[in-house]
Amino acid sequence: MWESFGFEFVNFYFIPGLVLGCIYALGAIGITLTFGILRFANFAHGEVMMTGAYVTWTIMAITGALFGWALHPLIAAIPSIFLMILVFFVVDRFFYKPFRKAPTIKVVMASFGMMLVIRSLVQILWGPNQITFVRGIAKPNGFIRELTGSLDMMILVPNKHFLIMAGTVVIVILLGYLLTSTRIGKAMRAVSDSPDLALVTGIDVEVVIRATWIVGGACAVAAGVFLAMDIQMLETTMGFRMLLPMFAAAILGGIGKPYGAVLGGLVIGLAEELSSYPWIGDSPLLSPGYKSGVAFSIMIVMLIVRPSGLFKGRTF
């Protein structure tokens, strides 16, 4: 192990938990907005994350081959975001819109179906094999290591984790600005809190819906690219396996509350990683075989004890 002079907990458990939590948080933002404004659990969200990452890689590969540029993933993510938002619009128009007035189960089933369709398309187009996103091993950032070392601490953070956490902070701040200070943001919050009242005040729900897809799509692609940066590879199930913890995060934070989703994501990410810490004795507190169960258990407890979540969101 890298020597961390007593800071094992921080470096090997806490920070990884935060990083995982950031990715969950970004994905959960889109889910909670869709849940709150469009009133359904969008099961295709994970696939959009995954596709966003694949498209980003493709853009990087193409520009690399054609122009010899080595684009940073976060730069290549921007055109990818535009593309995925377009995909969201198309999917909404053809597969979700017909069910706006229908019982919820119809649109949830449609999103199940979209999940399969999108994932299969990616598998057909890009193949089922994994694709290397970034080669090699990311060593801890030397500058931070020396800095903290001289201060009698030891923080070991590879650059990619730094970027992920910083990126998440930036996105959350931007999101906060959007929701509190812009007209469309306030309209989104209005529709999420009380759709009938929002209609009465003359808010155009379709515009709000489009805004939801835009914000949700951007966060989803960001989450997907961050995930790809973290695991340094692409594969077709990477979105789906993040989906249920992201739902858990959204529910934990309160449906329709983006800040709640961020907090929920961080809590779940931390809980998952901290469950393997040897709190008692030498072995992990919870067998890592049950790691997936951590998010679900938190979610179920939340649903029973306080369905409105930490930030008192919608309860349907």
Binding site: M1, N129, Q130, T132, I137, D230, E273, D282, P288, G289
Partner: protein, 397 residues
């Protein structure tokens, strides 16, 4: 609606109409949890099919040897359905496959054995398969049971001077079984296991379990599929230098591991797989064929897939007709001594010998492939390390 029913019937007729071929069923986990592992295996099966058809086909009439591929999805439900179709609709003479132990046992017990059809699995390694049958002899495999490889790996660990280690295994049928045999044998022979934990495949981060497992030791025995979390776990371990030495089995032996993690970081990684003694011609022959075809000769279960396909064809040729009841005896006859040695790719030679009524003994790229009473193969194992950016194996004696 009616039109689609008619076209379905037409499709069935087309599928079954071509009776002049020798059809062999090949259920593989094309979709499911390990598609990247299975894709080269499928290519190896196709390669064997190609060699056979190029060198004269089946029987004196030169009938085509046709591999009918189906998707078993590594899932008992899908494999039972796929093999039902292969046996009943496509009328195959034998089954080469499936890949996963669960799928193999399910389709064998549910469909193949009741129908009297031979199953020759390419990679199912569960010990339970050895004693599966009572009264029938229809279950064979070209991959050694975990009961052998786990022991070989434990002995390798001790021989390499790893007196203590931690074990982490992916909680699926292949890796969990291997880990259990390994841990038992390793501990019984003086090794110290600090922690032995399962992990869920396909997670995004294993950092915390790696940290806990690596707190007291430098060595990790890792049982996982590279594509289902194995690479991620190794990467997490290397990022924090939690472990310096890695040991594992087939599931991790892939070029992807080198491509993604970087050869420079894999200095202390050793992975085993079943193999032929390189000093025998079986492996050398296979390596040459695989290289020409662009396949990795050491890919997990890739040579086993080639061998199984080739052996099934040899068995049918030996039996003289596509009669399901004769295949089991013929399979034993061509795989075991006595007989003239046949190596991978030597179809024309084998055909000539069989036509003259002689006996053959196939030695494959993944081992001598001699079946014991249970239809299992023992065989040797090789330990591979990274040299010049590729895995290079050395047989374990």
């Amino acid at each position: 609606m009616r039109k689609s029913i008619y076209s379905c019937i037409a499709a069935l007729a087309v599928v079954s109409g071509a009776n002049a071929d020798v059809k062999v069923g090949n259920p593989m986990a094309m979709t499911g949890p390990i598609p990247d592992l299975v894709a080269p295996m499928a290519l190896a099966v196709d390669l064997a099919e190609k060699h056979i058809n190029e060198q004269g086909g089946m029987f004196a009439s030169g009938e085509e040897y046709v591999i009918v591929r189906a998707d078993s999805m590594c899932d008992p439900v899908a494999s039972v359905d796929a093999v039902t179709k292969l046996i009943n609709v496509s009328g195959v003479v034998g089954i080469v496959g499936p890949v996963c132990s669960g799928a193999t046992i399910a389709q064998a017990e549910s469909v193949a054995i009741p129908a009297g059809v031979v199953t020759l699995s390419v990679s199912a390694s569960a010990p339970a398969i050895s004693n599966m049958e009572t009264g029938t002899d229809l279950m064979f495999r070209t991959a050694a049971s975990d009961a052998y490889q786990g022991v070989a790996l434990a002995e390798l660990a001790l021989a390499n001077g790893l007196t203590d280690l931690s074990v982490s295994y992916a909680n699926d049928d292949y890796n969990a079984g291997l880990a259990e045999v390994f841990a038992e044998h390793y501990a019984a022979n003086g090794g110290k296991i600090h922690l032995n934990e399962a992990h869920e495949p396909n997670k995004a981060s294993y950092r915390s379990e790696v940290a806990t497992l690596g707190a007291n030791t430098e060595n990790l025995a890792l049982f996982a599929y590279y594509g289902s979390g194995g690479i991620t776990l190794m990467r997490n371990a290397m990022e924090t230098a939690a472990f310096s030495t890695f040991l594992g089995a087939d599931g991790m032996l892939a070029q992807e591991v080198i491509d993604q993690l970087g050869a420079e970081n894999l200095g202390q990684a050793t992975f085993t797989t079943s193999t032929s003694d390189e000093s025998t011609h079986g492996y050398a022959m296979w390596k040459a064929l695989a290289t020409v075809a662009g396949l990795n000769p050491l890919g997990p279960f890739v040579p086993n897939s080639y061998d199984a396909t080739f052996m099934m064809a040899l068995a049918v040729e030996h039996a003289g007709s596509a009669d399901r009841d004769l295949i089991a005896t013929s399979l034993r006859a061509i795989a075991n001594a006595p007989g003239e040695i046949i190596l991978p790719g030597e179809w024309a030679k084998a055909k000539k010998i069989l036509a003259a009524g002689g006996d053959i003994h196939y030695n494959g790229g993944s081992g001598p492939q001699d079946f014991d009473a249970n239809g299992d193969v023992a065989g040797d194992f090789s330990a591979s390390v990274v040299q010049d950016g590729a895995w290079v194996g050395k047989i374990i004696k």
